[in-house]
Structure formats: C-alpha cells, structure tokens
Symmetry: C2
Subunit: 82 residues, 2 copies
C-alpha cells in the first residue's frame, strides 16, 4: 500500500520551545555535537491503489489546510514512498 509522507516544521523565524528543550537536555547529557534541534511533525498517509496527480493535489491541499497551521508552520516535504 503506497504511503505519502508529509513533513511539517515550525517556521524558521519562530522559536521552537520543544527543540530548545531537547538542545538543553543534550547539553546537560554532555552531548555537544549539535548546534540546535528543531522538532516538527511527520504524517504518513496510506492510500489504496495508484498515486496519481489528482491524489497528490489533494495531499497538497490537505497538507496546507489541515495538517499544518500556516501561521506558524511550513510544509517542508511531500513524498511518495513504497
């Protein structure tokens, strides 16, 4: 069954408190290899049958209007896997 992956991240110009917390936690654990951490969401939409242009248009619409909040988030990727 094909899966469509939609990646949503907080906008680059906004603070990401979750990511900041993880960055701090890593530093406290003595792991200083990373400059920063940002945390977003990964949606896996499963579909039956073929993934055509119509379906991809629907995915794009859903990604922009339902899965992300365009005030604070960007859809950074839409990819068909399997």
């Amino acid at each position: 069954m094909p899966t469509i992956v939609v990646d949503v991240m907080p906008k680059a110009e906004l603070l990401d408190p979750q990511g900041k917390a993880v960055t701090g936690a890593l530093a406290r654990l003595g792991i200083d290899a990373f400059d920063g951490v940002r945390i977003g969401k990964r949606f896996e939409l499963t579909v039956e049958g073929e993934v055509g242009d119509d379906l991809l248009a629907t995915v794009r619409k859903v990604a922009d209007e339902v899965l992300s909040n365009s005030v604070i988030e960007d859809v950074v990727g839409i990819e068909v896997v399997e």
Copy 2:
C-alpha cells in the same frame, strides 16, 4: 550548515490516537482518499562542519535513547541533508 533529519514514528502495532483523530477529521471534511493517517516526529539536528562516522554514531545513539521512546516508537530514518 549540515542538517541531520531523524524521523520517529509510533510503532506499527500500537494505536495512534492523534492519527485516528486526523483520519476522522478528514472523513468529516469529505476527503476519503486516505486509508489511514499516522503521526510521528521529525527532528532536525544542525551541526557545524563535516558529518563523519563518529557524528553519525552519536546521532544514532541520541535518536534511540533521547529522541525516541523505544517502548512505543521506532526510529524510521536518519538522513543527512544539505
């Protein structure tokens, strides 16, 4: 600056209430193209300089031990971008 993306998803055998809620919401909006939705996390770790084997080993360790809860989640991808 290189970015390392770590993808974490709820284990396949576990319910995903967030994903179920989105599946239901899409159905109520009249969008029936999708069989199911599962929601995971996407971490973007930024690093300075080169991404070597040592750093990737650290990323793998951090992904397994800090960024995911292995009881309920799987690390489904680690990828270097840019």
